[in-house]
C-alpha cells in the first residue's frame, strides 16, 4: 500500500510549473489574437466585423477540452503533427483570444465617442487614433476584467492533461489514484491554485481601485 508522503507533495509541486507555463503561453498568444479580434470587431469593414463576431461566438461556445483535443489529435489526423506544447499553445490562444477579443471590444467602445471626434478634428489617421488616443484609455478600463479572466484561464489549463501534460490537476489525479486519498490530495491542489490565482485577483482589484481614483 502506497501512503501519501513527501514524494507525492513534491510531485504535485513540480507539476505547478506546467500550469504556470501553459498559463503564460495562453496569455501571450491570446493577447495578440484578442487585440486583433477586438480591432476587427470595431472595424469599419462589415466583413471583418461579421467574421470576428462569428469566430468569437463559435469559439466561446466550444469546450476548451475539445479545442485541445482537436489541435493535438485532430490536426495530427490531417497530417499536421504539432509538438504537445505547440498544440496546447494553439488551442489556448484560439480560446483566450476569443474571450479577450470580446472583453476588449467592450473596453474600446467604452472610450467616450467625444474622444474619437476630438482626434478626428486633430486630423489623426486611424492608426494614430488607436495608438495615441483610444488604446491607452481602453487598456486602463480593460485591466480588471482581463486579469479576472486570466484567473479562469489558469484553472482551465488543467484540461491540457488531455494532450499529455502532467500539470497540477493531473498530478493530483495520478497521486490520488495511487494513494486513494482524494480529499487530502484535492485540498492540496485547491490550495496551490489559490496560491497562484489569489495574487492575480488582488492585483486585479487594486488596479480597479486605482483606475476609479484616476477617473
Amino acid at each position: 500500500m502506497i501512503q501519501f508522503g513527501p514524494a507525492h507533495v513534491i510531485y504535485i509541486l513540480e507539476a505547478v510549473r506546467w500550469t504556470v507555463v501553459l498559463s503564460l503561453v495562453a496569455f501571450a498568444g491570446g493577447a495578440v489574437l484578442g487585440l486583433l479580434l477586438a480591432l476587427a470587431r470595431v472595424s469599419r469593414s462589415i466583413l471583418l466585423r461579421a467574421f470576428s463576431a462569428a469566430y468569437i461566438q463559435t469559439v466561446q461556445g466550444t469546450p476548451l477540452l475539445i479545442l485541445l483535443f482537436l489541435a493535438y489529435f485532430g490536426l495530427s489526423l490531417l497530417g499536421y503533427r504539432l509538438a504537445p506544447l505547440v498544440a496546447a499553445g494553439l488551442a489556448l490562444t484560439l480560446y483566450v483570444g476569443a474571450f479577450l477579443g470580446e472583453i476588449w471590444r467592450g473596453c474600446i467602445q467604452a472610450v467616450p465617442r467625444t474622444q474619437w471626434e476630438a482626434s478626428d478634428c486633430l486630423g489623426l489617421n486611424r492608426f494614430q487614433q488607436y495608438a495615441y488616443i483610444i488604446l491607452p484609455q481602453a487598456i486602463r478600463i480593460a485591466t480588471p476584467p482581463t486579469v479576472g479572466f486570466m484567473v479562469q484561464v489558469v484553472k482551465n489549463t488543467s484540461l491540457a492533461s488531455v494532450i499529455g501534460f502532467v500539470e497540477l490537476t493531473r498530478a493530483g489525479q495520478i497521486v490520488n489514484n495511487s494513494t486513494f486519498q482524494p480529499l487530502m490530495v484535492f485540498i492540496l491542489v485547491a490550495a496551490l491554485y489559490f496560491a497562484i490565482c489569489y495574487p492575480l485577483s488582488v492585483a486585479s482589484r487594486a488596479l480597479e481601485r486605482k483606475l476609479n481614483v484616476a477617473r
Binding site: 461556445g61 466550444t62 469546450p63 470580446e102 485540498i187 485547491a190 491554485y193 490565482c197 485577483s201
Partner: protein, 227 residues
C-alpha cells in the same frame, strides 16, 4: 494509412447524446437561475451591508473564484455525504454550480452596482422611495443592464464548465460521450458530435439571453441610446 470516419454508432446512440444534453440543460438552467439570485443578494450585501457581511461575502467570492470547480464539487458531494446526508449526484451538482455561479455573479453585479452614479440614489431619496425600492428599481435593474454582456458570457461559461459534474456521476453530455467513446473507441467522431452539441447549446443560450435582455431593458430598446 487513412482514418475512416464512421458515425454508424449514432444510429443506436443518438438518444443517449440527447439525454445527456438535456441533463446539461436542466443542471445549468437551474444553477444559473439560483446562482443569479444568490449572487445578486451577495452583491447587495457586499456593497450596502455592514463590515461583517461585506467581509463574509468577500471571503466567499475569493475562495470560490480562486479554486477549481472540480474541487468544490468534490467537497459538496463527498463532504456532505460523510456527514451522513446523502444527496443525489444531480442535487450535489446543482448546489456546487450555484455556489460557483453565485460567486462570479456577485463580483460582476458588484461592479455594476458600483457604477451607478450617486446622484441616482439621491434622486431616489428625494422621491421618497424606500431603501428596498431604491435598491431594486434604481440600482439593480440599471446595474444589471450595464453588466449584462459579462453576466451572460459567464453563464455560457458555466454551461461549458458543467461538464465536470460527470466526475461525481451526473450523466450529462460529457459523461455520456465518455461512455460511448470507450465502448466504440470512436474518439474523433464522439468529440466532433459533442463539440457540435455544446456549440448549439451555447448559441441557444446566447439567443435566449439576448431575448431576455430585450424584454428586461425596454427603456434602452425604445430610446435606442446607449447608456
Amino acid at each position: 494509412m487513412a482514418y475512416k470516419f464512421n458515425f454508424s454508432f449514432l444510429a443506436d446512440r443518438w438518444p443517449a447524446f440527447l439525454e445527456g444534453a438535456w441533463l446539461t440543460v436542466q443542471l445549468t438552467v437551474t444553477s444559473i437561475a439560483l446562482g443569479f439570485l444568490v449572487g445578486t443578494i451577495c452583491a447587495v450585501l457586499r456593497v450596502y451591508g455592514n463590515g461583517l457581511t461585506r467581509r463574509i461575502v468577500g471571503a466567499y467570492v475569493e475562495i470560490i473564484r480562486n479554486t477549481p470547480l472540480l474541487v468544490q464539487m468534490f467537497i459538496v458531494y463527498f463532504g456532505i455525504a460523510s456527514l451522513g446526508v446523502k444527496l443525489s449526484a444531480e442535487v450535489s451538482a446543482v448546489i456546487a454550480l450555484v455556489i460557483n455561479a453565485g460567486a462570479y455573479t456577485t463580483e460582476i453585479m458588484r461592479a455594476g452596482i458600483e457604477s451607478i452614479s450617486k446622484t441616482q440614489l439621491e434622486a431616489a431619496d428625494c422621491l421618497g422611495l424606500s431603501r428596498f425600492d431604491t435598491i431594486v428599481h434604481v440600482v439593480l435593474l440599471p446595474a444589471m443592464e450595464r453588466v449584462y454582456p459579462a453576466l451572460s458570457s459567464q453563464f455560457v461559461l458555466l454551461m461549458l464548465a458543467s461538464s465536470v459534474t460527470s466526475q461525481i456521476s451526473a450523466e450529462e453530455l460529457t459523461a455520456v460521450a465518455n461512455v460511448i467513446q470507450s465502448d466504440t473507441y470512436r474518439s474523433f467522431e464522439v468529440y466532433l458530435i459533442v463539440a457540435a452539441l455544446y456549440i448549439s447549446l451555447s448559441f441557444v443560450y446566447r439567443f435566449l439571453f439576448t431575448l431576455t435582455g430585450m424584454i428586461l431593458f425596454v427603456r434602452r430598446r425604445k430610446l435606442g441610446t446607449a447608456l
